[in-house]
């Protein structure tokens, strides 16, 4: 019974609020509950009327303005908090895009040439094609050199402080062997790189000989092996660099034939270094992918100022 009264009261309240019926009409619908319902419905109507109070217009306007100000303040704060995209965020994408474009152009050039088309076009584009291959070799070479220097320094410091560990020697041995092995493919290295390897291996030999004097006896064998590998490497370097000495006399005037044989080793470096087919790739990939730092994120995400819909 009571449950029914609560349900009926709610139905009547809904009907009253929607303006669908009056108190009397509700009571007529539920005559068996009319005696209980009537006072409750009158009270409910009074509550509805009383609580229909609106905020004063002056206050409502001021509150609305304060709300808009708060909203604008938060917008400013949000925009200020958006970080400017750092270089490393957009650079990989830019490099990737540039590489993709270069590959597409290169492929189209190949297709054009292979398809029996005209041989004249894409002259400017043809420069792009050699970029892709040598880059990893150069970057890997520099990495190898840096790692070797770091390992050598670790071994030297370990020997000085008496904390030289076999692991460090083994690591230096591996790095040295890898660098020497790279000399087996001299066509992937520039002459300057080969010279640098030669100097590095010579320094290493000197340092390791000093280290050997301070290092414990059990480390001597490992150090000797590294020195040996370095020696092999230096021999390879000399071998690589020596054949280039032969063409140089031809460049010198024939009037001084007697002087050239002694000078030839030193003068070889200049002519071989100038063509430097491998040098160009070092610079080109860095220059190509530099798009202007686009301001689109800030501009694109800025919310539209819709202050006209102000409360």
């Amino acid at each position: 019974m009571k449950r029914k009264l609560e349900e009926t009261l709610e139905e009547c309240l809904a009907a009253l609020a929607g303006g669908q019926s009056t108190v009397e009409e509700c009571l007529a619908l539920y005559p068996e509950l009319a005696a209980e319902l009537e006072p409750l419905l009158h009270t409910a109507c009074e509550l509805q009327n009383v609580y229909a109070a609106d905020p004063s217009p002056l206050y409502a306007q001021a509150a609305g303005e304060r709300f808009l100000t708060a909203m604008a303040h938060r917008r400013q704060k949000r925009l200020a908090a958006q970080p400017v995209r750092p270089f490393w965020r957009w650079a990989p994408a830019a490099v990737g895009s540039a590489a993709l474009v270069a590959f597409a152009v290169w492929a189209s050039v190949l297709a054009w040439g292979g398809g029996g088309g005209s041989q004249e076009p894409f002259i400017g584009v043809a420069k792009v094609t050699p970029i892709s291959t040598p880059v990893p070799v150069v970057s890997d070479f520099q990495g190898q050199v840096e790692r070797l220097q770091a390992n050598l320094e670790e071994v030297r410091a370990g020997a000085e402080s008496g904390t030289l560990e076999p692991v460090a020697i083994e690591q230096l041995k591996e790095e040295t062997a890898a660098l020497v092995a790279s000399l087996d493919q001299p066509e992937q290295l520039g002459p300057e790189d080969v010279s640098q390897i030669g100097e590095l291996l010579a320094d290493q030999e000197e340092v390791l000989k000093e280290v050997k004097e301070r290092a414990p006896p059990e480390a001597a064998e490992g150090l000797d092996e590294i020195i040996e590998i370095a020696g092999e490497g230096r021999a390879k370097v000399e071998k690589i660099l020596s054949p280039t000495a032969t063409p140089t006399p031809s460049a010198t005037p024939s009037a001084t034939p007697t002087a050239t044989p002694e000078e030839s080793p030193t003068s070889t470096a200049t002519p071989t270094a100038t063509p430097s087919a491998t040098e160009t790739p070092e610079t080109t990939p860095i220059e190509t992918p530099q798009p202007p730092p686009s301001p689109t994120p800030e501009g694109g995400e800025e919310p539209s100022p819709t202050a006209t819909a102000a409360p």
């Binding site: 009264l5 609560e6 349900e7 009261l9 709610e10 309240l13 809904a14 009907a15 009253l16 609020a17 929607g18 006072p39 409750l40 009158h42 009270t43 409910a44 009074e46 509550l47 509805q48 009327n49 009383v50 609580y51 229909a52 109070a53 609106d54 905020p55 004063s56 217009p57 002056l58 206050y59 409502a60 509150a63 609305g64 304060r66 709300f67 808009l68 708060a70 909203m71 938060r74 917008r75 949000r78 919310p303 539209s304 100022p305 819709t306 202050a307 006209t308 819909a309 102000a310 409360p311």
Partner: protein
Amino acid sequence: MYPELEAQGERLLVDAARVGDEGAIATLYNRYFPRVYRYMLVRTGNVGDAEDLAEEVFIRVLDALERFEWRQVPFSAWLFRIAHNAVVSHQRRDGARGRFSPLSPSLPVNTQGPEEAVEARLALDEVMEATRNLPEAQRKVIALRFGAGLSVAETARALGKSGGNVKVIQHKAIVKLRELLVEKKPEGDEEKA
């Protein structure tokens, strides 16, 4: 029954507001501010507190809107939960529960003539005082149903109760209010209440 929200379109409006559409936020403000104000009036019985708290609620909404998720909870229920929390914080902060100050004379009541306005203001005073004497749960239901104009279902969601429970509390609250109001009225006016 009470001014129901247009369910259709509200979701789009709220979704737009969540991603920072200031027009949508302003529309929601216009739609809900008077109701939040009335809710605060019923809960606090004080115009100044109601004004402060209504504003505070919308500042909180601004900060929390982007985290709002549709989890079978309508926006109104979410909003009035924030309003409820604001009242609770206010009561803790000020020890304001039970504090009562006369309604502002500038409080507009929807009447026409000055005599009616005075009568309405007195009636509001009476009802507010009676409401203050209700138990907390009943006062919350009355504030949401008659102040904020929420439906039983919305009230239930805002309070985390079942619809049947809300109807029971509503019934008890109206019975109690009637008793309190009749006690205050002169004998001849009892029938009107």
